[in-house]
Symmetry: C2
Subunit: 251 residues, 2 copies
């Protein structure tokens, strides 16, 4: 279904290529149908943002990098869309900050779990968590609560790109520091995040990596200062203004 020729004359050629990468994810059994719809929602918000990393999102990416470097046990949560869109970039970020990768799906099936784990391994991951699923996030339904007890279940900082609102809320209620990548600043995931990064995951993940490399030699005191100076609410307000007005003014 994805061998559709995109005429190069089409004005949104790059955007269509990204979509085809997602569709290839469907064929590999990585991306769900709900994932395709979520991709469309993201595209609309990204379009209104001007398909660029706004200043407030760049600040949030730096704060996220500081959190990951300060963490005892950081975990990068991977769902189907993220795996399809930027598997290599996630493996690189995990290496730079010493984080675990854990596959964490809204519509969990053994086949999809395995396809995503294999896909991450093809992109250089060695250990990938998520298959054990011996832990539960309290307060949410059945299948969606499953996590690895020694992974997200024991993490102090979790990067959750494109997370479902229910689960983001339940994870926050556990006291976990949540770094969320979401293009909708009004979504519950963004609203409950310790650090909401309102940006396309394709731009945000490498940007967090870049900041983490830049901060590698920073002292713990400096990292704490970066983290403590962050205002999540002002960041979300700035992103909403960027989407609503097409511009981003001072908070």
């Amino acid at each position: 279904m994805s061998d559709i020729a995109v005429p190069e004359s089409h004005p949104r050629y790059e955007s269509l290529l990204t979509r085809h990468r997602i569709e290839a994810g469907v064929e590999k059994g990585i991306t769900s149908q709900q994932g395709l719809i979520a991709q469309g929602r993201g595209e609309a918000f990204d379009y209104l943002l001007g398909e660029r990393t706004i200043e407030s999102a760049d600040v949030a990416a730096r704060v996220a990098a500081a959190h990951l470097l300060l963490a005892e046990h950081p975990v990068l949560s991977v769902n189907g869309n993220v795996a399809a869109l930027c598997p290599g970039e996630l493996v690189e970020l995990a290496d730079v900050v010493g984080a675990d990768l854990e596959v964490n799906l809204f519509n969990r099936t053994d086949e999809r779990m395995r396809a995503i784990v294999d896909h991450l391994r093809e992109h250089g991951a060695t250990d990938v968590r998520g298959l054990t699923a011996d832990g539960r996030i309290p307060g949410i339904d059945h299948e969606r609560a499953k996590v690895d007890a020694e992974g997200i279940g024991a993490a102090d900082v979790v990067l959750v790109p494109l997370e479902d609102g229910d689960r983001a809320e339940a994870l926050g209620a556990m006291g976990t520091v949540e770094l969320v990548v979401d293009l909708n600043p009004l979504s519950r995931s963004a609203q409950v995040a310790t650090v909401p990064i309102v940006d396309n995951v394709i731009r945000a993940v490498p940007n967090v990596t870049r900041h983490a490399r830049d901060l590698t030699d920073a002292s713990e005191a400096d990292l704490r200062a970066i983290v403590e100076a962050f205002d999540a609410e002002a960041t979300l307000d700035a992103a909403e203004r960027a989407i609503r007005d097409g511009t981003e003014r001072e908070a």
Copy 2:
């Protein structure tokens, strides 16, 4: 893939049910993967609009009804998403205004054409055009140019819900009056439309039917007055304000 249980406790229960209707369309071979992504884009814009028919869209729906009633040869163009979301409502509108239904796909395959024609027939359509495909819209690539010579090829007024920008532009260049339903007022389809209706197709199609019923006894002069008083640019501006500001002010 679509027998996913949606917990009723989920805050966006209705929206998820709509998505599942679209996913059922995928299983029936009606909705393409690109269609799922387009559905997601629409959801994001609808979310910013407040998931309601704004005043300017209601005016546009009435103008569209007047155009359909004035037309010599009106055609309702049907793609995969529209067929999955509101097949019965399209058949009803076609009856009320005496329009033909024509299946018109961006990613055209014989299987999808046939599945959609069958789906419309299951919802009460008698004649459905699109399979002959003996006409071409000038100025666009290969497969996407195909129409029925006696259908869209000969139409004076076409309702194109959720049309691709390239094709909307080429159709407009033929001199056809285009009534477009699109949730993104900045899309090329909306921009080139004679009458852009910035609304969810699920709300817009029955709304055009309601206005058409209301205008059944109107004189040709009255219908022409409604059509001539319409300002497409002001309508798009009002919709953009509604999306950007969350409110709709006077144009």
